[in-house]
Point group: C2
Chain length 352, copies 2
């Protein structure tokens, strides 16, 4: 239990493999072999080596070894924003996979900016990561001034699905939009408003398409109400309030984003209405509070764990040199039926 957690720095010098070698009375190559197991080492030598390692407190200099081997056992992870719970969950999953496979994670945030994205990736490349996991800030990933023209093995998650030259993994957004809407339809709703912050990302647009399809399949093609609320909880809230104030307010709302969900909730409260009594709500994403405060929030959520597992798997294959065709993985969403949406009451709204 030798710790000392000693005051930083000031060490005489970290022992090198040479120090170990001379103390063990073998060559550096043997030490290396004993440590890495790349070539057989006599039991005796190995023991000598380990004794010396312990005695000296030797730790391989991963830097030197990476430089020599041409691989760092490190992957870069680029996310648009660490405060979004979904991204944070992905980070957690990836950290886990990485640790289990002997990789380290270099974390970078692009702050939702394509050019910052480019800069951060550049920096990661300079550090010679073996691979890159990126949640792109927009669908044209790779198009930004100063974007590196050579990438290590890279897997794109969530956004930029179907990139022409990179593996991509995403959720079945279309299906998610469909399911959310169908669920509401099933409950008897006919006036279903959809709330989205913007139309920038394809994944969001897909959700909207799914919503439209569900509506049109139900013979309600003309009844779309797509509310673009803007980024930020407050702007979404404003937009929804406006919608609720109309003479023909929706009887149900489908928020297709985490912030949109929060905005919708705030709007409903602000109008002194309540869900599911006055209006049904289907939200998006998973968060613990959704099952803490009543009514529990019915929501569609991404299977972040499966998403991460798949992305990691693909990346690992690539890093190991696999040259199979581009991955194009679509993963199902989860539909968490709880309490915030319910059967439309017959008297609720005037019919058209």
């Amino acid at each position: 239990m030798g710790q000392d957690a000693g005051r930083s720095g000031r060490s005489p010098r970290q022992p090198t493999i040479r120090d170990v070698a001379s103390r063990a009375g073998v060559s550096p190559a043997t030490v290396s072999s004993a440590l890495t197991g790349v070539r057989p080492v006599a039991a005796k030598s190995r023991q000598l080596v380990f004794e010396a390692v312990d005695a000296l407190g030797f730790k391989v200099n991963h830097l030197a070894s990476s430089l020599r081997r041409g691989a760092t056992k490190t992957v870069g992870l680029v996310v648009p924003d660490l405060s979004t719970a979904f991204y944070a969950s992905l980070v957690r999953e990836f950290e886990n996979h990485a640790a289990n496979s002997g990789y380290e994670i270099l974390l970078a945030s692009s702050s939702d900016s394509p050019i910052k994205e480019a800069v951060r990736i550049e920096s990661l490349i300079s550090r010679r990561v073996d691979g890159l996991l990126v949640i792109a800030t927009h669908d044209d990933f790779g198009v930004a001034p100063g974007f590196p023209d050579q990438l290590p093995p890279t897997v794109l998650i969530d956004a930029a699905f179907g990139h022409p030259s990179l593996d991509t993994v995403a959720s079945d957004n279309l299906g998610a939009g469909r399911s959310g809407c169908e669920y509401l339809l099933q409950l008897g709703h006919r006036d279903i408003a959809l709330l989205t912050p913007d139309l920038d990302l394809e994944n969001v647009r897909d959700r909207i398409t799914g919503y439209r399809q569900a509506l049109s399949d139900a013979g309600l093609a003309g009844r779309e109400r797509v509310i673009v609320g803007g980024r930020g909880i407050e702007t979404c809230r404003g937009a929804i309030e406006q919608e609720l104030r109309r003479p023909d307010p929706p009887t149900a709302m489908f928020a297709i984003t985490y912030f949109a969900t929060l905005g919708a909730i705030k709007a409903i409260q602000a109008m002194e209405m309540s869900f599911p009594d006055d209006v049904s709500l289907v939200g998006f994403a998973h968060a613990e509070w959704m099952t803490a405060i009543r009514p529990y929030i019915t929501a569609v959520s991404q299977a972040y764990d499966t998403l991460a597992a798949n992305a990691w798997h693909v990346l690992e294959q690539r890093m190991n040199g696999s040259d199979t065709e581009l991955a194009r993985i679509r993963l199902p969403f989860r539909m968490n039926i709880r309490e915030s949406a319910r059967q439309r009451l017959p008297v609720q709204t005037p019919r058209a």
Copy 2:
């Protein structure tokens, strides 16, 4: 805008500083000087170098340069758990500070286990991080089988405050416990239950001490009600329900942890009671939903941004060789007064 985002790998070979040198007709040393600016370079040479760099698409191999310079411009960040919003916020802040100072972050999760913590730190050291930021899993940081006996400059955040040989930065937990309780006292409450998941960490114990002090200062020394609910939202919930079922239920509750807050909310709902009508609630931590769903949650929260800024600052000093005395920084909490706690009614509220 030269991108290609080309299919991974298969490159001929990354150009090195030598390639640049020969193309520019100067020596490697000059290229290095031009790039790093460590020594003056003639304008002419510099231009030549940059042209060659552009033409070749050269990128310094940070690995090689780190090895040579003996510094990586990388710091390791160890957190107990990425799913806790507070830690995630710290990570975000640190990533930001790092990027602004030209550092990269190597992220590791200890999964709340001291031994995993040791293992992960070991790995980071092997990668020769210049510094370490760690949110320790317990107060005896550094005591675990296999814990490295030499650390780079290290700053401990949140837990293990006052470590004998490392800089520590934490919130004023005692003050937080005090404030939360005093606020409730001020509102006229006399039966205030405190909910904590456990007594393991000193920061939590300090909050409890603060609560006790506030009570005793108010002449209510005998009225402490400390409920240890266990990790996990559900167990907390169970414990609170039990408390609320007593013949003399508390009129107010103070949850001193994020999960405890969620547990308290669930318990209150499960009892078909509501806050602040039947019982007042002061929660812990900051989350957007606390100001989305009514009633908004009154809560004490850590100033994660200030915490991170201070920790980063201290770490940077150390990494630059500062040898001043150990930092021991206590930062104030924030008291977010919202709606979940209110004046105790003279007559205990009847059921609705």
